[in-house]
Symmetry: C4
Subunit: 132 residues, 4 copies
């Protein structure tokens, strides 16, 4: 049925909410990447994190098996270094096979309050093949 | 006036909120698919659900009559099997005619709190014709 | 600098929240269309409303002057007939000149709670010229 | 790896929430632009603000260094004049190099309530080169 998605995705509006309230992990604050790999090949997605006042950091590796979805909290991206809390950042994701990427934030800084926001990431339609 | 939309749509960020609070059905937690079929033909939309640790399940069938909209809670997709609560999933929708798909989540896990988030699904512009 | 936007936009996920709480009009529940017309020509945007169980209704007329933005609550679309509350609907907007359309919902069904969600509408890139 | 993004981005649904509650600046109400510049060139992004009943105002200048992200509250755009609170507006951003733009609103008009909504801005894919 042909590939679904794109090989490059961008999220400019990252900012992990801090502090957090409520029981972990369901009500902790987070930014999340949701990656769907509908292909029959494993997608080793490589992520670079862009900051306001420092050079980009990466690649972070998010492996997504063939025909699988993976939801990763940005808070859990720790190698090569933890993405910092309460600081603006942006993300560029590159995959060897087409995938689709959605972004979600859960904000629980106020006790007893859950705020959600999200958007499809921006796909780069004309992206050339990207290697490892 | 020509067809409106695309034949393939993708939602990577599914996760039905659980548990739920407040009176049913208005304040139950849900993920929802909103499909608009502006064509003069019935759209038998076929949905596959992708998981983190199991093969995709489907097709689920969502019939949308000509010139109609249909809003379906993912919680109500039960054939061939119920989409599981509180578990990451993604969706690929395929329609024989162009449609437009929007995704909405209502989260009422905390009593007295309503959180909403949503996004247009990702359209696959170059998708070839898909049959039943 | 060339036209900005598209001539056809689609919103499948309409549903005006009902009932509403809090002081009007700031805290009433609403679905809203936000139309930006960056051209030097007036845009008489024509809207058709799609329902679950009835034929589409329209056109509703939303005039947007040259170089202006207009935010219209769907609750206020009353000619040819009021868009019904608490009922699923979808929208197709057609403009004689390129515009950009964003969708916003404010849900205040629970007293003391404000929930927001929104998305860019879906643009129809290949739409042919549409007349009045 | 090739440029990422587009040179023109549009946000029709601006409206800075007013009044605001809670401690500044974390819980003030705001509309925010999040710009990612993954290129090796500085992006002097120029913004025009469109209103309901007045000519567009601008350009506002948002410089984004090479390989950096920048999150700017619309409340802080004051030159050539402050963007007015509690009033509908739209935005057109133009960059000399490809960037990606996301829009976020934080609404804290009700004490103890945080509502978030956002969306990727609308990219203008066929935009010609724009100069300063």
């Amino acid at each position: 049925m042909g590939p679904v998605g794109a090989r490059v995705w961008v999220v400019p509006g990252g900012h992990i909410p801090f502090p957090t309230s409520g029981p972990e992990p369901e009500f902790s604050g987070f930014d999340q990447l949701c990656v769907l790999n509908a292909t029959d090949d494993r997608a080793d997605v490589r992520v670079h994190v862009y900051y306001t006042d420092a050079e980009p950091v990466g690649p972070y590796l998010i492996p997504v098996a063939a025909r699988r979805v993976r939801h990763v909290r940005v808070n859990d991206l720790v190698d090569p270094e933890a993405v910092r809390l309460d600081r603006p950042y942006g993300l560029v994701l590159r995959s060897p096979v087409p995938v689709v990427v959605q972004f979600l934030r859960q904000d629980t800084r106020l006790p007893g309050v859950v705020a959600l926001t999200g958007t499809m990431a921006h796909p780069e339609p004309a992206a050339p093949d990207v290697g490892g």
